[in-house]
């Protein structure tokens, strides 16, 4: 396939060098920067509980996290400054729009993954993975009543065979069957 997936290739554009930035990217930059500053600040706050090192010549457990967090805050502030200073560009050029349906698909895929992990704990690898495969395939457009279940069960069994028998990695049994 020659055309790359949406939003991957925007050669030449650069967000932090004064070039015009689309409004959505501006908002995203600001939100991400603020979130990261919050994370870094809370990390610094958490280091106040760290004990002093037992070793005489050591700088202690807190030193490096504080340095990293400090640098992270500084860099985020620079990003915020750059973003605010840059002019706003009209809606993204060359970037294919991802519609509501697209984002819904991604969100459903992520939710299904979370559900699969939760289910694996109780019903074990087999059922959780087969259902998960079927759901993701359905999300991706493979909705054939024959192929969808056949592929889901087939791949699940194949992966089980490879991991359990060939590589001797035991897969979760599930607390209900233990």
């Amino acid at each position: 396939m020659s055309n790359p997936p949406a939003g991957s290739e925007r050669p030449g554009s650069s967000d932090d060098f004064g070039n015009a930035i689309p409004l959505t990217t501006k908002i995203a930059n600001l939100v991400i920067a603020v979130v990261l500053i919050a994370i870094a600040a809370s990390a610094i706050a958490a280091t106040s509980d760290f004990p002093k090192s037992m070793l005489a010549a050591d700088v202690g457990a807190a030193r490096f996290p504080i340095i990293h967090s400090g640098a992270l805050i500084l860099l985020c502030l620079i990003l915020i400054a750059n973003t605010l200073r840059a002019p706003t560009a009209p809606a993204a050029d060359g970037q294919a729009r991802v519609g509501i349906a697209g984002y819904a698909g991604v969100a459903l895929g992520m939710l299904a993954t979370a559900a699969c992990i939760a289910a694996m704990e109780h019903v074990g690898y087999g059922p959780a993975t087969a259902v998960y495969m079927a759901v993701i395939m359905a999300l991706m457009g493979q909705r054939s009543p024959v192929w969808n279940p056949v592929l889901a069960v087939g791949v699940t069994a194949l992966v089980y065979g490879v991991f359990h028998y060939m590589l001797q990695v035991p897969l979760p049994v599930g607390s209900l069957f233990e």
Binding site: M54, L55, A56, A57, P170
Partner: protein
């Protein structure tokens, strides 16, 4: 309980293959379940990474146990937290004997550091398989030929002698701390990410000594690059008969790491019995002893009760030691 005990003994005397048949046929839950143990493969949780010393002991044991149990033992590595993750899993496992664990000396260390949810009393000991003492090893070209010279130098230069260990709070660090405590010296304890990097650093002359086990320095000793001054054991090591013990030097200190099979506390007595019998047979199997010898590991079988005493003794010792050092929480 009497019934289950008799049943289990009968099952064993009838023969292992027969007991497997009975087990397969038996559908009764409860008491009969324990008696027919094991009816399915047993999982052996190893709290350290595949390929490490503990893992190798576990795999050699699982291999040897095949002949003495109707069901195979599968090794599962659950790493993380310096052993805390795997040991917690063993502690929290359903006490039916199908999830057993490789207990290590960390059972008696981690609880005092406040990083574990278990204590030594959460485990029922089955069998100790292996034990390695701590030893003080220096470079072959070091000016100290004997342990006394080494100690005199350390006393004359407090805080200057650097002893490498396998990590702060790990067994070899505590061994060196205990030595400092008993002899009234101060060392500079340098933690490494495991014993191997510490030995590398010693070879490069970046530290003065290491406190790791003889097995971990044996090839460099054989090549004449390192010199072992003393072992922290009650008796001299078979492989190194010329190296004196600390006891001979008038210091009453022996510190050793150990590895052995443990199960969760509430495991039924019949299951514990079966495992103890099988573990004894497997541990005394020549193939197992040969495997350990090849890896330079010391075979140190001890039956459940005796193993339990070692665990309790170490637990008390390390608790006192760590409280003194300010590491205990």
């Amino acid at each position: 309980m009497k019934v289950t005990n008799r049943l289990s003994r009968r099952a064993l005397t009838v023969g292992l293959s027969a007991s497997a048949l009975i087990a397969g046929a038996a559908t009764l839950p409860g008491a009969a379940f324990a008696a027919d143990y094991p009816t399915k493969p047993i999982e052996l949780i190893v709290p350290y990474a595949a390929g490490g010393g503990t893992d190798l002991v576990a795999r050699a044991f699982a291999d040897a146990a095949k002949k003495h149990l109707p069901q195979p033992i599968g090794v599962v590595n659950k790493t993380g937290g310096g052993g805390a993750v795997g040991l917690t899993e063993i502690m929290a496992a359903r006490p039916d004997g199908y999830k057993i664990g490789m207990g290590t000396v960390e059972i008696t260390l981690l609880p005092h550091m406040g990083v574990a949810r278990f204590t030594v009393d959460d485990f029922t000991p089955i069998a100790r398989l292996n034990a390695e003492p701590s030893a003080i090893t220096v470079k072959a070209d070091a000016p100290w030929k004997t342990f006394e010279e080494f100690l005199d130098n350390a006393k004359a230069n407090p805080g200057k002698v650097r002893i490498g260990n396998s990590g702060t709070g790990a067994i070899w660090h505590l061994a060196a701390e205990a030595l400092a405590d008993r002899t009234g010296t101060t060392f500079n304890h340098v933690p490494f990410d495991g014993a191997n990097p510490a030995v590398t650093s010693l070879l490069g002359g970046h530290i003065e000594a290491v406190s790791v086990s003889p097995a971990e320095v044996s090839s460099q000793l054989a090549a004449g690059q390192l010199r072992m001054l003393a072992v922290m054991a009650d008796q001299r090591q078979k492989a190194f008969p010329d190296v004196p013990t600390l006891k001979e030097k008038g210091i009453d200190l022996s510190v050793a790491t150990w590895r052995g099979i443990v199960v969760p506390k509430k495991t039924p007595a019949a299951v514990v019995e079966t495992l103890r019998t099988a573990s004894k047979a497997a541990a005394e199997d020549q193939s197992f002893r040969d495997q350990l010898a090849k890896m330079n590991l010391t075979w140190a079988y001890a039956d459940g009760p005796e193993f339990g005493q070692v665990m309790q003794k170490d637990n008390a010792f390390f608790k006192g030691m760590m409280t003194k050092l300010g590491m205990a929480k």
